[in-house]
Structure formats: C-alpha cells, structure tokens
C-alpha cells in the first residue's frame, strides 16, 4: 500500500506498547471488533434522531481513531459528535457518517494488513 495514502499511523501505538506485538494485536483486534458496532449504532441513532446517543457513540469512538493515527477520521467523527451535541446541521450528519464509513473501510484494510505483518 502506498505509504503516502495511508490513513493510519501505528507509531504512537507502537511507542505506547513498547513495540510488544501481542499488545498491538490485542488493541487492533479490539478496535476492529468495536468500530463496526459503533458505526452501526451511529446509523441507528441517526435514523431514530437520538442525537444524545449519537453524540455519545461518536465521543467514545473518537479517541480510538487518534491512537491509530487516523487524525482525519478522528476530526470527521468529532464533527459528527459536535453536530449531534449541538443539534445543528442535522442534514449533514448522514453524509458525514457515510464519509466516515468509506474511511473506515480503508482503516480496517490497513489494520488487517498490520495484523498480518505482526504475524497474526
């Protein structure tokens, strides 16, 4: 994969774990298990106009993206959280969730590759 088009950057996670592969694998697996559930929840909350639930889910997901170096995606989720919290630009929320879903596809592919590189 082209290094320049990478969304994720595992250098922070690597420094945090002291380069321990088992820990890296554990965190990547946790994220790959939890993030699709969060995305699904965000879609459901948007459909049911539960802005408090959406804000809370986006809020919980946001720092995890930062730990994987996906700063752009973190900003996107932050935007969703802000719109839900302020109940402003509500028509933009489904668009931003779709944008995030596209980014997540790339993130998950990158992290799956990282798992293979880590020997898992």
């Amino acid at each position: 994969m082209d290094q320049l088009s990478q969304i994720t950057d595992l250098s922070y996670l690597r420094s945090l774990t002291g380069g321990a592969n088992d820990k890296m694998i554990k965190y990547i697996r946790m994220f790959l298990t939890g993030a699709p559930i969060s995305i699904q929840q965000m879609e459901l909350y948007t459909m049911s106009k539960d802005w408090s639930g959406l804000r809370q889910t986006a809020h919980a997901l946001k720092p995890q993206l930062g730990y994987f170096g996906a700063k752009g995606s973190e900003e996107l989720v932050k935007d969703i959280e802000k719109m839900a919290g302020e109940q402003s630009n509500l028509d933009r929320i489904p668009v931003q969730i779709e944008n995030f879903k596209k980014q997540y596809e790339i993130i998950s592919a990158e992290l799956e590759k990282a798992l293979r590189d880590l020997g898992n």
């Binding site: 774990t17 919980a60 946001k62 720092p63 995890q64």
Partner: protein, 173 residues
C-alpha cells in the same frame, strides 16, 4: 511481601480501558482492576476500598442509563473520603472535568495521546501528596510533643523556684 496499592479504572470504552490498565500495570507496586460501569466499581469498592480510581466522565455509551462520572465520584467519596479519584474526560469536556475537583476529585486527565503518561504521573503525584501529608502530620505531632514537654519543664522549674528548692541563677554565677 508489601501489599500492593489498589487502583480501579472505570471506562465504558473497552479499548480505552484496556490501554490504561496495561499502561498502569507496568508499575509493579499497584494492583489494577478495570470496570465498564461505575456501578460495578461501586460494588467492588464496598468489598475492597481502592486507593485510587481513574473515572471516565461519560459512562453511558454501552449502557444508556448508567450513572455518570460525577455521581460515581460522589458515591465513592461516601464509601471513603480517602479514595483519590482522577477524572478522565474528552477534550471538549475539560470544564466539566475541572468542575469535578469541587466534588473532591484529585485531578483530571484529558483523553488523547498524552493521557497514559499523565496517568502514571498522577499516580506518582498522589503517592507524593500522601507521603507529604503523612510527614506533615508526623512533624505536627512531634512539635506538639516537644511543646508540651517544654511547658512541663518550665512549670517544674517555676514550682521548684517558688518552693526555694532551686536558685534562680546557676551556682557558678
């Protein structure tokens, strides 16, 4: 073997919880337990009172009607005022986190890349604070002990003087 200091972590987000737990477990003098809800932490605190609790402010991303961090903080302080609570919050809730200090939180940590290092430093700060408080208490007791001792000595000298049992100036004068 010395008893380990008990630390509880409360965070509803599994990865955040695990990252903090793994990071604090690097310190061998501490026994760490993590809980997804404040209610579980309160139940555990009734059985074994922790020294430190790292407490997320938002705790309802998984369980919608879960108690929030401030309510848990208040309940923990009812169990024991000695429990030191460190609030954890998102970047956008710093004001809320600062406000928790008035309910007795020791400090607050903002989630993000520097949070884990900050958590370690906070544990050290709590240890240092308690050590200093202990030292201050010991010095205070020592000062009172010497003060009372001095008063007793003066009283004895005055009594002996009034009874003429000792002279007011040393004999070599």
């Amino acid at each position: 073997m010395a008893q380990k200091t008990l630390i509880y972590i409360v965070d509803d987000e599994p990865m955040q919880r695990e990252l903090l737990k793994d990071n604090l477990e690097k310190m061998p003098a501490y026994e760490i337990h993590a809980f997804p809800t404040g209610e579980e932490c309160l139940a555990a605190s009734q059985v074994r009172i922790p020294s430190i609790v790292f407490l997320d402010y938002n705790l309802n991303s998984q369980v919608r009607d879960a108690m929030d961090g401030i309510d848990i903080l208040k309940e923990l302080k009812k169990i024991s005022a000695e429990i030191e609570v460190v609030m954890i919050s998102g970047q956008d809730q710093i004001e809320v986190a600062v406000n928790t200090m008035k309910y007795g939180a020791f400090d607050y940590i903002v989630k993000g890349e520097g949070a884990f290092l900050r958590a370690e430093k906070t544990v050290f700060n709590i240890y240092r604070y308690h050590k200093m408080a202990g030292d201050a208490s010991r010095y205070k007791k020592l000062m009172i002990f010497f003060g009372v001792g001095m008063l007793i000595m003066i009283a004895v000298v005055v009594i002996l003087q009034t009874k003429g049992l000792i002279r007011s100036s040393p004999s070599w004068y």
